[in-house]
């Protein structure tokens, strides 16, 4: 059983991703990685897909990772960690290694929802004992904010720029959390760095479960979201409070909302501070805002219906 998370205990632990990494200030991704590594009571070996997190944390002779870490390519963090985890099992069986080690793959939404989807799906089906964590900032940020299949409807990106004929991304985002759960893996969940306790509890819980686990974590990117550098936590909180990014988990097929907002805020509260949605507030695009709200309401109602559990009230 996972032990309870206590701030006092956590404050004594080492940060396993050092400061001095070169991600943009105010980026959500390193905060998430620090939370994940802090939550673990086991030694972790991590794989990282190509993307912002990878290119910024391990340049030339410097690495920000205090744990064993491997970057292979863009689309294969899941397959790469499969290899590492399999060698671990092989050597353990042969008596050459006896430590309990856990394996985590980190990928951005592009490297997870799109190009890495096949290798992720394959790794989940094979049942490797690992957690795959997607830090979802909703676009290909490292190459300059191109749309991915995680980009929300209506967002302005460099490959679906909001123009006079096409007002931003015309399609809805892919619901990857549900797709991963449909692999019948023992654990899939959504988390947000604004709700650190919920996030870390989910990591701790996932680490205790044998087999493939998937965590989708919203990761604000001030460059791509066209937002202020100091509002990553505020924005991810709004994502939860507007039910744009519901916090829930699917454990052994049972869906449970882990955080229910006290008062569900309108989606405009989440969209307004972000420059990528600026055009949605023009009068001619009112229909888009309306559609986004309707979609969220529908999703949230469906999730609530699914959720079998008592819901924790947001403090």
């Amino acid at each position: 059983m996972a032990t309870e998370l206590r701030l006092k205990e956590l404050s004594k632990k080492d940060m396993l991703l050092t400061s001095g990494h070169r991600m943009c200030s105010g980026c959500g991704a390193p905060i998430i990685v620090k939370m994940v590594l802090l939550a673990s009571e086991y030694p972790i070996i991590a794989a990282n897909a190509t993307g912002c997190l990878e290119v910024s944390t391990c340049i030339s002779d410097y690495t920000a990772w205090k744990i064993p870490w491997i970057h292979n390519a863009f689309e294969n963090a899941a397959a790469t960690i499969s290899g590492v985890e399999t060698m671990y099992r092989a050597l353990k069986k042969q008596g050459k290694i006896d430590k309990e080690i856990k394996f985590i793959a980190f990928g951005g939404d592009g490297g997870t929802y799109d190009i890495g989807f096949q290798s992720l799906s394959g790794a989940m089906e094979r049942g490797h004992d690992m957690i795959y964590i997607c830090y979802d900032n909703g676009a290909y940020m490292n190459t300059g904010i191109q749309r991915s299949s995680a980009t929300p409807f209506g967002a302005d990106t460099t490959t679906c720029p909001a123009g006079s004929v096409i007002p931003g991304k015309p399609q809805n985002r892919k619901n990857l959390t549900k797709i991963m759960a449909a692999h019948n893996i023992p654990y899939a969940a959504q988390a947000s760095p604004s709700h650190w306790l919920d996030l870390m509890k989910k990591v701790r819980k996932a680490l205790e479960i044998k087999g493939p686990k998937f965590l989708n974590i919203i990761s604000p990117c001030n460059r791509g979201w066209r937002s202020r550098t100091d509002d990553a936590i505020q924005l991810s909180r709004l994502a939860v409070e507007t039910c744009y990014w519901p916090l829930y988990e699917i454990e052994d097929g049972v869906t449970k909302i882990t955080v229910t907002p006290k008062e569900k805020k309108p989606i405009a509260d989440f969209l307004k501070p972000q420059g990528r949605f600026k055009h949605l507030f023009a009068p001619e695009n009112e229909w888009m805002l309306k559609k986004i709200q309707e979609d969220i309401d529908k999703e949230w109602a469906g999730l609530q219906k699914c959720s079998a559990a008592e819901e924790k009230k947001l403090e």
């Binding site: 870490w69 092989a90 050597l91």
Partner: protein
């Protein structure tokens, strides 16, 4: 003593892999290599090896899994062909650039389009500059012997590079031949214990694999990789010497057949060398000094040694089982021409493209090439440098 068997090339490679007993293998099926992994996984299922399998959803993931497993710190192998190798292309560079001693059997097959599953060297040639060591094999015996040696070469502490063992699809992979297998014990001792180098699983010394390297150091890394490659031929020769001790079979960087006093010669890779040798014997019987050179270590290419071996001939025909688009000569021809480039007096060179997509290579084709060389040696003239043979006009 070992045992003499009748087996296919794929069976022989699978047998070598069983004897070496790697820690992890990750694989995806493709004709004509599938059979290797089918046989191997039955060894796994029946407890004949300790290997953990990762049966992935694509070749890209197969090589990705091999890379993860190899970086973790253990002995790793896989097998593929054609489209499978093409899908791995990105990962081939990452395996070699990361210096991971993965061993892969490449059962040579043509590339699409048009779709063709038969023997052809286009796949191996496409991967020749990916930083992998390439050993090519004439028959099942050589494929078996090369596979065993490949682990020692790849895992050598001065090298730590991935190695691929090439054998011809169907012609060797699926034909039954006489093969001498070594005893399990001998192979196990020859391969030795896998030695780790900066394993990811070492928690006391955490390492980061796969950094971003910008303009400041990238060139230095690439040059270092080239330097490592330059050490490969000597290691190949040393390993061959040790292998001779346990097998009685001699291997070098390339094989020469009746080449020492030859005036004309063929250069050819893999299975077609056998047919060519027979025809060379016929020409020798007729008093014509013909010989053959068959590269074994194709990457890194031993330019100097091969140039030395061929420079004294009057005329040489390089036979390629792969074409190169863009009006180019065949890939082997280009390498042979480069190896002769430094010499002032060098043989006349011609290039024949043969056997694409599994088209038979017949004694008549070798005869045609040799007869042309006889003429060229006599007159100093050739009709054309590159020509397709065995093709319907």
């Amino acid at each position: 003593m070992g045992k003499i068997v009748a087996a296919t090339g794929n069976e022989a490679v699978a047998e070598a892999l069983r004897q070496v007993n790697p820690d992890v293998s990750s694989a995806y099926p493709i004709t004509p290599a599938t059979d290797i992994m089918q046989r191997f996984t039955s060894f796994v299922s029946n407890g004949k090896v300790k290997t953990e399998m990762i049966l992935v959803e694509s070749e890209h993931s197969a090589m990705s899994g091999c890379i993860g497993a190899s970086a973790a710190g253990g002995r790793v192998m896989t097998a593929t062909s054609s489209q499978g190798l093409a899908l791995m292309w990105e990962e081939l560079f990452i395996a070699s650039g990361t210096r991971l001693p993965i061993v892969m059997a490449l059962v040579n097959r043509a590339l699409s389009a048009p779709l063709n599953i038969h023997g052809d060297h286009s796949d191996g040639m496409g991967a020749r500059d990916c930083g992998w060591i390439q050993l090519w094999s004439e028959n099942a015996q050589e494929a078996y012997d090369n596979t065993i040696q490949a682990f020692r070469i790849a895992e050598h502490m001065d090298i730590r590079l991935p190695a691929m063992v090439c054998l011809d699809g169907f012609i060797v992979s699926h034909s039954i031949e006489r093969i001498e297998y070594l005893e399990d014990e001998k192979v196990r001792n020859f391969a030795g214990e896998f030695k780790q180098l900066n394993p990811l699983l070492d928690l006391e010394h955490p390492v980061s694999y796969g950094p971003l390297i910008l303009t400041d150091y990238y060139m230095e890394y690439r040059r270092a990789q080239d330097e490592v490659m330059s050490k490969v031929p000597q290691v190949v020769l040393d390993v061959a010497k040790d292998f001779e001790k346990i097998s009685g079979r001699k291997y070098g960087l390339f094989e020469t057949y009746r080449l020492d006093d030859a005036e004309i010669g063929l250069v050819i890779l893999n299975s077609a060398a056998g047919t060519s040798k027979d025809v060379i014997d016929e020409f020798r019987n007729r008093g014509i000094k013909a010989g053959l050179l068959k590269p074994r270590l194709y990457r890194p290419f031993p330019y100097k040694e091969i140039g030395e071996a061929l420079k004294g001939l009057k005329a040489v025909c390089v036979l390629d089982r792969a074409d190169a688009f863009g009006g180019s000569y065949g890939p082997l021809f280009i390498d042979i021409a480069s190896s002769l480039y430094p010499y002032k007096d060098k043989p006349i060179l011609i290039n024949k493209i043969y056997g694409l997509g599994g088209r038979d290579y017949m004694p008549a084709h070798a005869e045609q090439a040799l007869s042309e060389l006889v003429e060229a040696a006599k007159t100093g003239k050739i009709k054309q440098i590159k020509e397709y043979i065995g093709v319907r006009e």
